[in-house]
Symmetry: C2
DNA sequence: CATTCGCTTCGATCCCGCCCGAAGCATTTA
DNA sequence: TAAATGCTTCGGGCGGGATCGAAGCGAATG
């Protein structure tokens, strides 16, 4: 009982520094960012950013992919993303309505990428639709799985045959798809590998587009048609 | 996009202070603790504890119930508990196996109270059993609800008729019962009002007993019989 | 090989916040 | 009323860590 708490406080302290917090918030969009990019985004010098990023690495909150003379950072895994979303839930708890109804927050409330999957109103709608249409079903143990006739829906969503086969192969893996709480909607939305592939696909098809922050998602005109068909 | 992050970092910084972190970990057990009790538990003077508790209140992480010359603190709500559990998940992520397999962690891994509901192996088992026995079912929207014939199971669990009626009345409310991730088991367990009442009942019946930390739960001999019947 | 670019390490400064002693306030008990 | 208990506020000392300038290192570019 004594040993976990120091580390408990330690992880929190790493998140607690304002510049690091802003970096993590940026990375919550799901895309990799270089060290310099992050430094500029939070208005600090590269050398300061460097020490911060070293600490984020030490704490295991971010992962590093070195490429030439660039160093690209992403969140370490879904658990970290989950923590940051849970923190957001508490941060915004006091006045969810008033804050989310300001014009600046509209896009973020409508749709955003959370780590790598779809969240916000559209994320909740996606989960409801896939359950209602029996693309996803609850197994005996209560876990969510891909149904027998999910292939039809996936074809409608313009997935290729090979992509569908690949998804069905992965469907048995742990954490392929599961529900998790949405902090703005206070309803559940979809996460996991499956949800990630869906979002990637929607962006590739040009149905959703990420804004400059990499967090908010806008529906394009063809996206409106495609998604209203898919989500009923 | 600019305004939430300062508060984001602020909340993290409140958790980041070691003494406050330990207080929060204690309160995660679900029971109310007085200011002095918390001060002694984390080995600091009352005046230092006082300033820490004031900050926890400011941040909205704890709630206060004044009673005579005592001041009792609890976690503010389930969102805060959820945040702390998500933080634990990241904290323990690196070496889940090695850490949880040490003797000191055995009881905590087996069963513990998380805010006010049952977590750990027993918590996961509880969820599996209630779903398998159709005490809880997934509704059309995928949300968890009390089934028609849950009453039979509740009677077996020695709930009184009035308690059962009260539960069924509350079953329509938001957040009555829902699944959430367990950090030690990496499986889902039950949370919400329903889960809280179950745990309270099990403790009242003498089937489970809280240890001095208020976190770990031990099964008593009659509890072994009762729970193995209820959970199959 | 020399230069530029991205990033890191070192060193010095400075500020924020944790801490406890002392004093003060409110409630309960004698 | 007086004394004890639980808790808070004030003041000053102190340490940890955030910051940036300067210098160093490795990779790409010419």
């Amino acid at each position: 009982m004594r040993s976990p708490e120091p580390r408990f406080a330690y992880i929190a302290s790493v998140i607690a520094e304002p510049s690091r917090a802003r970096m993590l918030a940026l990375l919550l969009g799901g895309e990799a960012r270089s060290a310099g990019e992050l430094a500029r985004a939070v208005s600090i010098t590269p050398q300061t950013a460097s020490t911060h990023l070293a600490q984020l690495l030490d704490a295991g909150l971010v992962k590093l992919r070195a490429q030439g003379r660039h160093r690209y950072f992403t969140l370490a895994d879904a658990d970290v993303a989950h923590l940051l979303e849970a923190l957001s839930l508490v941060v915004e708890r006091d006045d969810v309505r008033s804050r989310w109804d300001t014009p600046a927050y509209k896009p973020l409330k409508y749709a955003r990428s959370c780590y790598c999957h779809l969240a916000g109103e559209l994320g909740v709608r996606q989960r409801d639709a896939l359950l209602a249409q029996r693309v996803l079903v609850h197994g005996a143990d209560g876990a969510l799985t891909l149904s027998q006739d999910a292939a039809k829906w996936l074809r409608n969503a313009r997935f290729g045959d090979d992509a569908i086969a690949s998804l069905q192969r992965d469907a048995t893996k742990k954490r392929f798809v599961y529900s998790c709480m949405d902090w703005s909607e206070r309803r559940e939305h979809l996460a996991g590998v499956f949800a990630t592939r869906l979002l990637t696909h929607f962006v590739e098809m040009g149905w959703l587009r990420k804004d400059k922050t990499g967090r908010a998602l806008a529906t394009t005109p063809p996206g409106v048609r495609a998604l209203s068909m898919l989500f009923g």
